[in-house]
Each structure stands twice: as C-alpha cells, then as structure tokens.
C-alpha cells in the first residue's frame, strides 16, 4: 500500500516532464467530448466477491454523444453476476454533462462542468444463491452504486485544472438511491451518499507529437471516495486507482486500471477490482 502511494507521489512530482492528460479512467473530466461526435465504450470490471469467494464480473456497454460543445450525453447498460449465479442484464442508465466554464490559455486551462446520472436497475439487494448453495460468508455490504446495484440519481460538479504539465481533476457529487424495479432498498442501507474524487494524469508517450498515428501512453492515479450519510449504513471509504491508457490512431482507447481500498469503515462485498475498457470515437458524424 505504501509503495502505491510513493509511486503516486513520484508520478505527481515528475509531472513537469510530461504533458498532462485528462481522459480519466475512473472519473469524467470537466471537458466534454467534441460536438457532433460519437463514442462507443465497453467497460469490464472483474473482482472477488467476499460472500461467495467467486469472481464477479460486470459489463458496461456505453454510447456517448457530443450534442454540442457544452453538452454530452451517455446511455449505459449494466450486466453482471453480482446478485445471481450467472451474468444477466441488470438495467440501464443515462448520464449528462454540461460544461459551464472554460478558461483556455496557452499552457493552462480551467474547466467546470455539472453532471447528472440516473439508473434504473432490476436486482435484489442481497445476492441470490443457486439452489442448494450457500454463501461462504455472510453478505456484509453497505455499499450501493448506480452501476448495477441500485436505481437512483446522482449529480455533482467537476473541476479540471491543467497547469503547465499537470492535469488535476476533482469531482464532488451526491447520490439518492431509489428502490429497484422489483425490490425495495432494505432499511439497513443508507439511501443517500456523497462521492468525491481527485485525479491526476500524465502523457508518457509520445515525447514529441508528429502524427495522429502515434500511439499515446498515459498514466493516471485517482483517489475515489464515498460516504454513506444516513444514520443507518453510515460509513466511508477511500480507494486508490492507478491506471494505464493507450490511445491508438487518436481515436481508439484502451484503459487498464486496478482499484483498491486505502482506508475506510464501510462494509463492502468487494474492495478491489480490475477494469478493462475499450473505447472508439467517431468524430464529425454529420458532415
């Protein structure tokens, strides 16, 4: 754990030698995708589920659209085996981000955006076990999220600062969890939470930009936190998520990230995960 922190600090300190990057893997930057462009994304998460000892996986297909220079919209689907023995479609969601401030300078910019997310999910709040099966350990989880666990809405503010070679981004948001399609949130879960993050990104390659065909290599470190604010299910955690990103032909993105808990007192069925994401962008869909 200490080593990861040291590596993170070294990367932050060495920011002066690389160009900044803000295509964060586990959060969104305040910048939007270009107007009139379309992005297609498939995110896959792999994690160990403490209650069953099984490997869990989640698949999130996502379509992103730059409606205009200030507004972008995402539509997402969620599928996983977290709550039942095999992978099934759990629901879907929408995400909208509006960039309301943009101060661009030669080697710096500061941007702010507001976002909202909404999810409709059909999942139980306690995992179903196959007939005759039983959990290895009690299902001890007080963490809900809008990515498949529960229906609800989330909204917040993002601020991204590029200063010389360092790109920093922070998010502050609030979630209101709502009942799922068939199941109601049990009384021992918090219905409200606050999420916060701090992200930093660096371009490692290419050293000098010459063509759009050059493959980019970017490194990220992100701190991701959440606090359940209700008296029941109260708790917090802070995760760290280092990530590597490749960009091919200036249009296709491959993200690899590992996420693990640094500190926290929230009961979680999963406290570390791998993420693999492929994203392809089509610019200027309407000529």
């Amino acid at each position: 754990m200490k080593r990861i922190l040291i590596i993170a600090l070294v990367i932050i300190a060495s920011g002066g030698i690389a160009a900044a990057q803000e295509l964060y893997v586990n959060t969104e930057p305040a910048s939007n995708m270009p107007a009139n462009s379309l992005g297609i994304r498939l995110s896959n998460k792999f994690f160990n589920m403490k209650h069953s000892g099984d490997n869990g996986m989640r698949f999130e297909p996502e379509v992103m659209w730059g409606a205009n220079k200030k507004l972008m919209l995402h539509v997402l689907g969620y599928a996983s085996n977290m709550m039942q023995s095999s992978v099934k479609l759990e629901g879907g969601g929408v995400y909208a981000k509006y960039r309301f401030l943009s101060l661009d300078q030669q080697h710096a910019h500061f941007r702010m955006a507001a976002y909202v997310r909404g999810s409709v999910i059909n999942n139980p709040y306690y995992p179903e076990m196959p007939d005759g099966g039983h959990a290895m350990r009690p299902y001890d989880n007080k963490e809900l999220d809008l990515e498949g666990a529960t229906s609800g809405v989330n909204g917040g503010i993002i601020a991204t600062q590029l200063l010389h070679k360092l790109a920093l981004s922070t998010t502050l948001g609030y979630s209101r969890y709502m009942n799922n399609v068939k199941d109601n949130i049990p009384d021992d879960f918090s219905r409200n939470s606050v999420n916060y993050s701090l992200s930093a990104g660096y371009l490692v390659l290419p050293v000098k930009y010459k063509s759009f065909q050059q493959t980019n290599l970017n490194l990220y470190v992100e701190l991701l936190g959440k606090t359940n604010t209700d008296a029941v299910g109260r708790g917090s955690y802070l995760d760290i998520a280092p990530a590597v990103q490749f960009i091919f032909n200036s249009t296709t993105r491959l993200d690899l990230s590992y996420r693990t808990q640094l500190t926290g007192d929230m009961a979680r069925n999963t406290s570390n995960s791998f993420l693999i994401r492929v994203e392809h962008n089509i610019f200027n869909i309407k000529k």
Binding site: A35, D104, S250, R253, F283
Partner: protein
C-alpha cells in the same frame, strides 16, 4: 504559342489569386490529447472552403489551405475549434492583397469580409501578407483585455459595426473583423 499559353496561364493564376484569403494558421488552446487534436482536425476539415490541412501537433497548430475562389468565413473557423471543445489562441490569415490601402482604425472590404486594421501604420499592401485576427475569442482572454484597453473603439469589444467606425455605408449589425499586421 507555348509562350503565349504560359503568359495566359500566369495571368490567369494572378487574376484567380487576387484579393482572397489563401491560408490560415490556427493555434488551438486547451488541447491536451491526441483525440482532442484529431477531433479538431476533422472539424476543420469539414469546412467547405478548406482544401487541405497541415498540422504541427506539438504546437497544436493547424495550417489550413483554402480552396481557390471559395468564400472564407473567419468565424466558421473559430466555431469549428470551439465545437471540438477548445479555443482559438491565435489565428493568422494569409491573404493576397492587390494594392490595398490600409490605415489605422479604418475599414477595408476584403474578400467578402470587412477588416478593421488596428495598431498599423498607413501603408499599401500588395502580394501575400499575414494578418492576425485579434477579436474576442480569437486571442486569449488576457490578450483581449490588453487590446481592449489600448483602443478607444467600442466596436472592438463587440466585433460589430458601431458608431465609432468611420462610416462606409455599412449597417450597424455588420460583422467587422479586427486585425493587425
């Protein structure tokens, strides 16, 4: 016969090249990634008057070569950069002038646009000359503020024809591009 056709060709080219914008060098700010540059490139490429684009990616600069005879909209260039999510930090237009007399704070009708020359000596422009657009959103906010304090002309702040402009029969809502050499 060959000589005649060469002369005709030369004449044709010089007539064809008269009084028009030939190129633009667009420096975009706010870009940090390959995808950003690519998106900006493709947005600029979709302009109907752009023939080809050369890039200096390390400096996030795009050199647009215009189609001969096509009407060029300076605002459309800026709009494309902004649609891609970025800002114009500097825009230098290369134009072919045919003995055009310019004066400080005077309007010149040129290739379908009205140019207001600021901070220039009285002179006659001939041949290819570079002019820099200094209107709002074509320079950094800091530079715009600086230019604003250096001029008494209120039309600079709006980019539109104003009372300050020496009347040349144009209407008050006409777009005026403020430029310098």
């Amino acid at each position: 016969m060959k000589i005649v056709s060469i002369i005709l060709l030369a004449l044709g080219i010089s007539f064809g090249a008269n009084a028009q914008f030939k190129k633009a060098s667009v420096h975009a700010t706010g870009l940090t990634c390959a995808m950003c540059s690519k998106a900006t490139y493709e947005a600029l490429e979709s302009l109907p008057f752009v023939d080809k684009i050369d890039t200096d990616l390390d400096n996030t600069t795009f050199i647009l070569t215009f189609k001969t005879g096509a009407p060029v909209s300076i605002d459309a260039i800026k709009d494309k950069v902004e649609d891609a999510g970025f800002s114009v930090g500097k825009l230098v237009m290369t134009a072919n002038f045919d003995a055009v007399r310019v004066q400080n704070d005077a309007h010149v009708a040129f290739a379908g646009s009205t140019l207001h020359f600021m901070d220039v000596k009285n002179q006659v422009l001939s041949g290819d000359k570079d002019i820099t657009v200094i209107d709002k959103d074509f320079v950094s906010a800091k530079q715009f503020k600086k230019f604003s304090t250096e001029t008494t002309m209120p039309c600079y702040k709006t980019g539109m024809m104003g009372d300050c402009c020496k009347s040349d029969g144009a209407t008050a809502s006409k777009r005026i591009y403020h430029v310098t050499i």
